[in-house]
């Protein structure tokens, strides 16, 4: 951990308007308001910061996030499919500031669980009474031969929104009519199980209007994918034979990536694409790995009542990085977990019982701008773990009317507007 002397410390603290604690010996906010530090200003972290302040305005909340604005993965497929601009999916942190959250635009480089402090890339440390970590995903670069961070600059993953989203959108816009777009989703578990299906759909919608002779090849290392029946029903109705889907037993598993030749190799074949979207296997975000919060699976084990880490005390890991199964890795899940954890942390800081959580998740997907589908589930906490409430949740009905799909597409947009406002507003 980088040390700073008192002079630098005072300067830093003054400049950032943040009360930094000294790295050693200084103790944490003794006799002052309790301090919670949140790493990551995405779906989990930003919700946690806002809701902590709602639960107890006496808590000093500091959010550490490198980006000045957050670009959401949800609805990024509408940008890739040419329906929306980046502005539609970009959210400022001013809303959180208005709730009294102190925002430090920096990257956390380490966590000292014994000293209860987080070190920052630009120097300095921030002390905490409790820490909430929601860093999202990292990629297992190199897990598939030939695909690493450098390769992703030509063969986009677009599984973290931002420049990658723009890259894929521009490549598709530049692709000739009659070209081939290949998309290869990852093995489980990964961020947003229905995300690839939605992306395939909205690229197909774009091709149908602008490049009707283009083809889409899906190379999936799994046997089946989320909402498969509903997606395939929609594809058959809307996109004819534009989409070819190959699963694992149909030679869908990519074993090697040749970016220079825009080619994906499976066990038995090789496929050349004009544009390739390769989504690599995933794990908890880098800081979780650095801080020893992840286990051998690459994800972070937690107590599913409070999401306190099983590896280190006083640190709560939420969102995609955590092992919250049976909840899927979604923005909706991350935000719901954040609210329950904010309640638990506010209670624990007062010396009270954390309370029992309850969670909901719903993932809307657009098969076309006026064709929405969804999958939902409600979760209880019982016998020490998160369980699905029997009889609740499930998929939109199959064989539904065009009117029903139109309503769900409208509610998908309504969901996006509400959750964005609920988190960053």
């Amino acid at each position: 951990m980088k040390k700073i002397d008192r002079r630098t410390f005072t300067k830093l603290a003054g400049a950032a308007g943040v009360a930094f604690s000294l790295p050693a010996g200084a103790g944490v906010a003794l006799g002052k308001s309790p301090r919670v530090v949140v790493i990551g200003g995405g779906f989990g972290g930003a919700t946690a910061a806002k809701y902590l302040r709602r639960f107890d305005a006496g808590i000093d909340v500091t959010l550490i996030e490198p980006s000045k604005a957050f670009v959401t993965c949800p609805f990024s497929n509408t940008v890739i499919g040419g329906l929306n601009t980046m502005a539609r999916i970009t959210h400022s942190y001013d809303g959180l500031r208005a709730h009294g959250v102190t925002i430090v635009h920096d990257r956390a480089t380490g966590i000292d669980a014994a000293k209860k402090s987080v070190s920052l890339a630009n120097g300095g440390d921030v002390g905490y009474d409790r820490l909430i970590v929601s860093p999202g995903i990292g990629f297992r670069w190199g897990a598939i031969e030939g695909y690493d961070a450098a390769t992703s600059q030509t063969m986009a993953h677009a599984w973290q929104a931002g420049p990658q989203t723009v890259l894929l959108q521009q490549q598709l816009a530049a692709m000739p009519d009659g070209g081939v777009f290949i998309i290869s989703p990852p093995v489980n578990p990964f961020r947003c199980p229905p995300g690839p299906g939605e992306r395939i759909s909205l690229v197909a919608n774009y091709f149908k209007q602008h490049k009707p002779r283009a083809k889409i090849l899906v190379l999936d290392p799994k046997e089946k994918f989320s909402k498969q029946g509903l997606f395939k029903e929609g594809w058959a109705a809307l996109y004819g034979d534009m989409i070819e889907y190959r699963n694992a037993s149909n030679d869908g598993t990519v074993v090697r990536v040749d970016a220079a030749n825009m080619t994906l190799h499976t066990d038995f074949e090789q496929h050349k694409g004009d544009v390739i979207n390769f989504i690599p296997p995933q794990q908890a975000g880098e800081i979780a790995q650095l801080a020893g919060l992840a286990n051998d699976s690459g994800w972070c084990p937690v107590d599913q009542q409070t999401f306190e880490s099983s590896m280190h005390p006083n640190i709560h890991v939420i969102g995609d990085a955590s092992i919250a199964s049976p909840m899927p890795k979604s923005g909706f899940s991350a935000s719901n977990q954040a609210k329950a954890v904010a309640a638990a942390v506010a209670n624990l800081l007062k010396g009270e019982a954390p309370g029992t959580p309850k969670f909901v998740n719903t993932c809307y997907s657009l098969v076309a701008p006026d064709y929405g589908i969804s999958v939902a589930m409600v979760y209880d906490f019982a016998d020490g773990k998160i369980v699905k409430v029997k009889g609740s949740g499930g998929l939109s009905p199959s064989g539904a009317s065009a009117e029903f799909h139109k309503k769900e597409a409208n509610f998908a947009r309504g969901w996006y507007d509400s959750i964005a406002q609920d988190i960053w507003g």
Partner: protein, 99 residues
């Protein structure tokens, strides 16, 4: 609920029990927060979702029971409402209903 639960526990003199022994129901706040991802913070929708703000407790309870029993047309609320018990619906309605 939290306050009530606390009082009840205090009355029973079991406050000193280890945390794991206290099998509380989720607080009304925790329950209601799950709705805001669709219906907006405090039930004030930011777009195409219906707002809950301004509705009475009895209307909210009534609607949730109808959704749960498949007695009211819906796209998703039936699937959501089936995840909440009678007691939870009452708690939600009291928490979200306009006062």
């Amino acid at each position: 609920m939290k306050a009530k639960g606390g009082l009840l526990l205090a009355a029973l003199g079991v406050l000193a029990l280890p945390l794991s022994a206290v099998a509380d129901a989720p607080s009304p706040t925790v329950l209601a927060n799950t709705c805001f991802s669709c219906h907006g913070t405090d039930g004030k929708s930011a777009g195409a979702m219906p707002s809950l703000a301004g509705k009475s407790a009895s209307e909210i309870a009534q609607r949730l029971r109808e959704f749960r029993a498949d007695e009211r047309e819906n796209t998703v609320m039936g699937r959501i409402a089936k995840g909440f018990s009678d007691a939870e619906i009452e708690a939600l309605a009291a928490q979200l209903g306009s006062k």
